[in-house]
């Protein structure tokens, strides 16, 4: 009885919450199907009066989205994989290795999280242009191949891996490096997948940086395409929302695919105590 009651309570709570969460999303989809007039109407309508499916087509044609998509995919895949690798290595060093200056270096890197990213935009642009990377994939990818946020997150997770497993692996003749890849990484799968997901989404949605470091259409990524719907005097909301809906879809799918790895905890069995 009590059980059923509390279960029911949880469902009600979650459902109300998810309605709240769904609002913008539904709004987005619904707006994307409206006419410009309906977009402006107050109170807003949730169900479009006439379903303007061709908004999607129109939006798609407003910018070279195919090319943008390709670039986005390249940038997301390379920078995510790259970041995962640098993150795993660094998080391991910060969580399991002993070396001089470890804590200071970590503190300095942590400190970089405390400075607003807006301050870094221009110096980094200058660095990249000195390197001759402006308007190239290098500029889109290389500055984002490491993230202290991810390192910090993974370090926390690594710290939770029982030291006995490290011991066992050492006894089994496992070097640090192999231990990292064959034990730590599989055990930290939820954290690594989380990092990858957050990174992929961040990279997929990144706007200002790709805009600033690219000059040509051929190098630009999807979010840049969204500027096509806004001018100084107003925004074509229905087209913007149509394009936004199309853009977030791959990320939602990615999330649905990945969430099982996040939620599927790695068992800690095989250890007493």
């Amino acid at each position: 009885m009590r059980q059923a009651f509390s279960k029911g309570f949880i469902y009600i709570l979650l459902t109300i919450g998810s309605l709240l969460m769904l609002l913008p999303f539904i709004w987005m989809i619904s707006t994307s199907l409206k006419t410009p007039g309906e977009v402006m109407s107050m109170p807003p309508t949730w169900i479009p009066e006439s379903w303007k499916w061709d908004n999607y087509l129109k939006a798609w044609e407003m910018a070279p989205f195919l090319r943008y998509t390709l670039n986005s995919i390249i940038v997301v895949i390379v920078s995510t994989i790259g970041e995962i690798i640098t993150t795993i290595l660094a998080a391991y060093a910060f969580s399991r290795l002993q070396f001089w200056g470890r804590d200071i270096v970590f503190a300095i890197l942590l400190g970089t999280m405390m400075v607003p990213g807006e301050m870094l935009l221009i110096p980094n642009f200058v660095t990249l242009s000195n390197l001759g990377w402006i308007n190239q994939y290098e500029a889109l990818i290389i500055p984002w191949l490491a993230s202290i946020f991810s390192i910090f997150l993974l370090r926390q997770y690594f710290l939770g891996v029982p030291k006995e497993l490290h011991y066992a692996a050492k006894i089994d003749g496992c070097s640090n490096f192999r231990f990292l890849w064959s034990v730590m990484v599989p055990l930290a799968k939820p954290a690594i997948v989380t990092i990858a997901l957050l990174k992929a989404i961040g990279s997929w949605n990144a706007f200002l940086w790709p805009l600033i470091v690219t000059q040509s259409e051929e190098m630009r990524t999807l979010p840049v395409g969204l500027t096509a719907f806004t001018t100084e005097a107003g925004t074509n909301f229905e087209l913007l929302m149509a394009a936004s809906s199309m853009i977030i879809l791959p990320m939602i799918i990615l999330y649905i695919i990945l969430q099982k790895y996040i939620i599927e905890g790695v068992s800690k069995a095989g250890l007493k105590g």
């Binding site: 509390s6 807003p44 391991y92 060093a93 400190g111 607003p116 939770g160 957050l198 989404i201 905890g265």
Partner: protein, 296 residues
Amino acid sequence: MNQKPTLKDTLIGYSYLLPALIILGVFSVYPIIKSFFMSFYADYDFFKDIVHSYGFDNFIYIFQDTEFYKSLTNTFIFVIGVVPASISISLVIAILLNSKIKFGKLFRTIYFLPFVTSVVAIAIVWQWIYHSEYGILNYFLGWFGISPIEWLNDPKWSMPALIIMCIWKSLGYNIILFLAGLQNINPQYYLAAQIDGASKFKRFWHITVPLLSPTTFFVSIVVLINSFKVFDEVFALFNGRPGPGYSAQTIVYYIFEKFYNEWEFGIASAAAFVLFIIIFIFTLIQLYVGKRKVNY
């Protein structure tokens, strides 16, 4: 394993760090150090990179600027409003989502949606939610006899409006971090606690909370830092302005405006430096508390 590191250990350690260090060094540490120096340039040609004189002028300026104090105050209000609420709500939701429930996958996806959805869409929806005449928030408040609040037009309410939206928006992100952290807890302890007569709530309080502390620690540092740096949300919610009468101006907004709109690079750097120091102090406190309270 319990000894002072040797030279060899150090070399090994840094070889692991190297890739990340190069990238972060070049693209984070170096520009930050540069901009810290910039805050002491009293007279400076930004574009030609010529410093004509050094001094504390920039700091003197911001400490005499009432706008700066106001944005500091707003930022603190924001941090206090967002950090505890955001962390505790997302923790609870993460726990619920982590329990064996029907439609778990669906729920988890839904809760993550705001994080994926474009900020523009989110801001527009919230502008509607907050609408004094047509908004659903006032509509609900009306049920409790509360007369309509001018969330977005009244300077008194712009910070609360911003805070509510930011809590909401941060949930998906925090939830996913918590979900990942929850996987790190050995379910064995829940069983033991059940045997020991711990109710669901007590298990949450005595097992989940302490054993999740590494994640909570992480999330709270990240949320705190990000809250001190709030900017995008202000920009989006109030259509590119920091609220009516600059009532929701935050410190990063201040920095942004000084840097990009007013070309006051030194002042912007000085303000960023001050922000850094503030966050740094708070983080130190957190690290100190964390050392004592976090269980690995």
